[in-house]
């Protein structure tokens, strides 16, 4: 084997007396892609920063990082700065905060060029324009003069990649490069990253918590837990025959879009926080189903365990039971306890009473402009025709990218007032006809759980008070409200004795459980869940999803479940509604929509979701959607999706006119079938009959 480009040996990072990275060994070879997987606090980002020598001031680094045999640890700051950006470049997670807000994008990229190359201002600027062109930003010359806040998230991340490859680096470190992005944009950015890698021949280190992203991009994978690498193997080997129970658990905890993989198995407990001190033994022992007494005496080393995988490469695991796993190759559910989720209400849909019926909902916000006198210059049509229908005991998944109007739809429903346009009927009551008292009573029957449990709980309120709040708002006497707190905490799997603690004393998953307990306090009929698990770690997310299923079955709740994560929706929802630019473009049962999507947008969404399975991921047909969604600031004549629509692009001119002039109505796939699509040419323009199993006839995607 050739000598590695980057060799990390026994890397340690401490913050005070908190070790964040505890002896990491990594090798990166020219041109390869290494995936570094881990949950929050596992030390994966700190490892990446340590390689560049960019740790916060409090961090102490130990061990060795060698680039082409040259030691980087302990190198004088000036020499290190000469290597950063030229030989090793980094793409950061959140491109909005990673660009200096007060400088133009072009200037920031040109600066990266001029730091390392003695070129003129103009030459650097031309180079910046070329780079923006390379990453597929339209009209790169004009984009140079844009400020970071004027770019969309996807554009910013492209620009970030352009800046990273400005000096043809040997190694690209990408730290969660797609985490803040929508799936279709994520697919674009991953594509750009691959292009950039191909153009520069650089090695790519892809740091991510998302097994799907890793499965589709990496050649080799290293799994981090509690500051150490616990398993490393070629990507196929790792996913098919994991030898560390943590890896196995991660694979089992991720819901899969293709519906395969069986029930979700949560890993009990929670990942240790960064730098949390612990005793001797394996740091995973407390959560491990295969734990033995000897696991608790000493931390197992990362070793090969005697076997070598097929297809070359090495497979190492830091587990005493690795041989057992290698030999038996169990499925996650065979190792981890599978929670029992009681069956939901089995009554046929038509017999269950409607909980929420929304039809033709619209909501626009005026936009103003002007100097002395503000004048109205137009409207932003945030919600522009939404139809939803939820029955008792049912979960409707509301899916769409950011800016599609999902959140506005929720807030319009929760306002319990007359909507701007359309009709909202909640539990049989038209919200437009409610007086104040009736609206207040109705509030108790619909509750919301927010995305970020850290933000949705008042940090200055003990959780007991938090949970009692909706009861007090419904004028339940304070003493009665207080007495219900322990019962509610127990219902969501928390210790009732913790009611006097403040939210910050709980982990993310626990906080989300508190949020759910608060929502349940007033015994609602409908729970609105706004991205309830997207802020949680994978291993914890499964537990919360299972809890939601269990509560639904026990209490007969209905859920309006908003998510950008189609895999989660597939796992949890009974029916699904897809939104694009403020409209519902497709609705139907989960089985039908996911198996036979009719609207081209739904097909593109589904195609963009990476599968946590390298073989399936490689075999999956790719369908890249071009560009960003258009602005909701103008009302589009005809079909709003046509500017990005692959079907539209392949149509004959006279057919296109129809898309351009006529707004497609929602039409069912067949009479009486619960599956509608708002498209003039559903199912790729072919008649919606006898189509199962065939790939939609989509033209090759326009790149960029």
């Amino acid at each position: 084997m050739t000598s590695p480009l980057l060799a990390v040996r026994n890397l340690t990072v401490d913050f005070g007396d908190h070790p964040a990275v505890r002896g990491v060994d990594l090798e990166v070879h020219r041109g390869e892609t290494l995936g570094l997987v881990g949950e929050s606090g596992s030390g994966k980002s700190v490892t990446a920063l340590a390689v560049l020598g960019l740790l916060p001031a409090a961090g102490r680094i130990g061990g060795s990082v060698q680039l082409d045999g040259r030691e980087l640890v302990g190198l004088p700051a000036k020499q290190l700065a000469g290597i950063r950006g030229r030989r090793i470049a980094m793409v950061f997670q959140d491109p909005l905060s990673a660009f200096t807000p007060v400088y133009r994008i072009g200037d920031q990229i040109a600066e990266a060029v001029r730091v390392h190359q003695p070129v003129s201002r103009d030459a650097a600027r031309r180079r910046a324009a070329d780079l923006l062109d390379l990453v597929g930003i339209p009209d790169p010359k004009r984009a140079l003069d844009a400020y970071p806040h004027e770019f969309s998230g996807g554009m910013r991340q492209r620009a970030m990649i352009a800046m990273a490859v400005a000096n043809d680096p040997d190694i690209l470190l990408a730290d969660e490069p797609t985490t803040a992005l929508d799936v279709t944009i994520q697919a674009q950015v991953l594509d750009v990253l691959r292009t950039a890698q191909r153009e520069t021949g650089a090695a790519l280190v892809l740091v991510s918590h998302d097994l799907g992203v890793i499965a589709g991009s990496a050649d080799r994978v290293a799994v981090m837990y509690a500051g150490r690498i616990v398993e490393t193997a070629p990507v196929d080997e790792l996913f098919t025959a994991p030898r560390h129970p943590y890896t196995l658990g991660l694979i089992g905890a991720v819901p899969r879009l293709d519906g395969r993989g069986g029930p979700l198995v949560p890993i009990p407990g929670r990942p240790p926080a960064a730098g949390e001190l612990r005793g001797p033994g394996c740091p995973f022992a407390d959560r491990c189903p295969l734990v033995e007494d000897r696991c608790r005496t000493a931390e197992p080393p990362l070793t090969g365990g005697g076997t070598h995988p097929a297809g070359g490469g090495t497979h190492l695991a830091a587990c005493l039971r690795a041989d057992h796993l290698a030999a038996t190759r169990p499925a996650p559910a065979e190792v981890y306890p599978v929670p029992e989720v009681p069956a939901a209400d089995a009554a046929p849909r038509e017999e269950r009473e409607p909980v929420l019926a929304v039809s033709g909902l619209t909501r626009s916000f005026p936009r103003y402009r002007g100097t002395l006198l503000r004048r109205r210059i137009g409207e932003t049509f945030a919600v522009d025709g939404v139809d939803l229908d939820i029955r008792r005991g049912e979960t409707l998944g509301l899916v769409g990218e950011s800016g599609s109007g999902k959140s506005t739809t929720l807030y319009e429903i929760l306002k319990l007032a007359a909507p701007q346009g359309g009709r909202i009927e909640l539990l049989g009551q038209d919200t437009a006809a409610l007086d104040r008292a009736a609206a207040h009573r109705l509030r108790a029957r619909v509750q919301i759980v927010f995305q970020d449990p850290a933000a949705s709980l008042d940090p200055r309120m003990p959780v007991g008070d938090v949970i009692a709040e909706p009861l007090l708002a419904q004028r339940v006497p304070a003493a009665d409200a207080r007495r219900r707190i322990p019962e509610l905490l127990r219902q969501v799997g928390l210790d009732p004795a913790h009611a006097d603690r403040y939210p910050h004393e709980f982990s993310g998953g626990q906080r989300q459980r508190i949020s759910i307990a608060r929502a349940l306090a007033v015994r609602p009929d409908l729970l609105v869940l706004d991205e309830p698990v997207s802020a949680l770690d994978v291993s914890v997310q499964a537990g919360v999803l299972n809890l939601l299923q269990q509560l639904k079955a026990e209490l007969g709740l209905a859920y309006l479940f908003v998510s950008h994560d189609l895999s989660v929706v597939r796992h949890l929802a009974d029916r699904v509604a897809v939104m694009y630019l403020g409209r519902t473009v497709e609705t139907g049962t989960v089985e039908r929509v996911f198996a036979e999507p009719r609207h081209p947008y739904t097909r593109a969404l589904l195609a963009a979701v990476p599968l946590p399975d390298p073989a399936a991921e490689r075999a999956r047909p790719r369908l890249l959607l071009a560009g960003d969604p258009p602005s909701p600031a103008e009302r589009h004549l005809g079909c709003p999706f046509r500017s990005r629509c692959p079907v539209h692009a392949a149509l004959a001119p006279e057919q296109r006119t129809r898309c351009a002039t006529e707004l497609p109505p929602a039409t069912p796939a067949a009479p009486g079938v619960d599956h509608t699509a708002a498209c003039h040419f559903p199912d790729g323009g072919r008649p919606p009959l006898g189509h199962a199993g065939t790939d939609p006839a989509c033209p090759p995607p326009r790149r960029g």
């Binding site: 920063l49 560049l52 960019l54 916060p56 700051a77 000036k78 700065a81 000469g82 290597i83 950063r84 950006g85 030229r86 470049a89 980094m90 950061f92 959140d94 905060s97 990673a98 660009f99 200096t100 807000p101 007060v102 400088y103 600066e111 990266a112 730091v115 390392h116 400020y147 806040h149 004027e150 970030m160 800046m163 990273a164 400005a166 000096n167 402009r369 002007g370 100097t371 002395l372």
Partner: protein, 328 residues
């Protein structure tokens, strides 16, 4: 950007109009020019007092709105601020004093801001080291010392130095040496020396305030992702701190600038009185004691214009420094 600034300017004009009316109404009801004339020896007749008051547009038997109308008419149409209680033109006094005050305010505010920003940024970069802690203690002491006390202490120091040396070391009265001969250079040097103590007493307070705020905004910026990005592309820490860090961290200071000017104006009143500068502040104190309504209003007008100008300047600076507000 011009749109944004024009909107702010429009708002300030409305604000100024309302404020000046309120100031006029308040001053002319709170002060008693009638009592001032009645207390004259020999005591003038009631009719004479009335006549005099009417001539000065101070007669409290005329409704306030009407008096304000007369006054505003003079200001807007003839740029005439009215008459002092002694019958002289307010304009003359105003013209004499405005540059005395402006010199103090401008030098004091700019000096305080520059020193404060530099000290704060430096303090943040060296957080928790000895120099940071020393600066923290000093600025807290300065912050809790009122300007008049600071000015008195500086003056006492100068007096002590004079007594020790036998001659003026640093001048502590007035804004120039009377009857000084010599060229422009001598005069400038003389002005500068006279400015030293008064501006110091003003600037030190500003320095303390600015440095505290700059320290905290700079500390926020130190952890910012873009500072890490700047270093990741190959900038050294020092360059990244100045070019990307400080550049962003001074933006909130523009808002501070407007607020600091408020305090500065009050401080200037004390400084002028203590160091014997015949500026607007000193005039104000004198005018209140003499029940001189038009002079008090003139100073109020000056204060309002200066404060709003500082506010507008802050807005313009903010827009110039931060591209995000320009589009707003």
């Amino acid at each position: 950007m011009t749109g944004y600034l024009a909107r702010r300017l429009g708002y300030y004009v409305v604000l100024l109009t309302a404020a000046v009316f309120l100031a006029y109404a308040l001053t002319s009801t709170a002060l008693g020019p009638r009592a001032y004339f009645e207390a004259k020896q020999p005591r003038p007749s009631a009719a004479a007092v009335d006549r005099q008051l009417t001539a000065l547009n101070l007669n409290d038997r005329t409704p306030v709105v009407e008096r304000f109308g007369t006054w505003a008419n003079g200001v807007l149409l003839h740029a005439d601020l009215g008459r002092t209680i002694h019958g002289t033109a307010v304009n003359d006094e105003f013209g004499r004093r405005i540059w005395v005050s402006m010199r103090l305010l401008l030098v004091g505010s700019v000096l305080g801001m520059l020193l404060g920003v530099a000290a704060g940024a430096w303090s943040a970069v060296r957080q928790y080291r000895l120099s940071d802690r020393a600066l923290t203690v000093i600025s807290f002491v300065l912050l809790s010392t009122p300007v008049f006390l600071l000015a008195l202490l500086l003056k006492n120091g100068a007096i002590a130095a004079k007594n020790a040396a036998g001659h003026d070391v640093i001048p502590f009265t007035g804004y120039e040496t009377p009857n000084l001969s010599g060229g422009l250079g001598t005069h400038l040097a003389d002005w500068g020396l006279h400015l030293l103590l008064p501006t110091l007493s003003l600037a030190l307070g500003g320095l303390a305030t600015y440095s505290r705020y700059q320290r905290s905004t700079m500390l926020d910026v130190l952890g910012a992702d873009y500072l890490r990005t700047a270093q990741a592309k190959g900038l050294t820490r020092g360059r990244a701190l100045i070019k990307h860090g400080l550049r962003t961290a001074i933006i909130p200071m523009t808002t501070m600038f407007a607020y600091a000017f408020l305090g500065l104006f009050t401080g200037a009143a004390f400084t002028e009185t203590i160091f014997g500068w015949h500026g607007m502040g000193e005039w104000f104190i004198q005018a209140v004691n003499e029940q001189d309504v038009n002079s008090v209003v003139a100073v109020n007008l000056f204060a309002a214009v200066v404060v709003l100008a500082a506010g507008f300047l802050a807005d313009a600076l903010h827009a110039a420094l931060d591209p995000r507000v320009r589009t707003a």
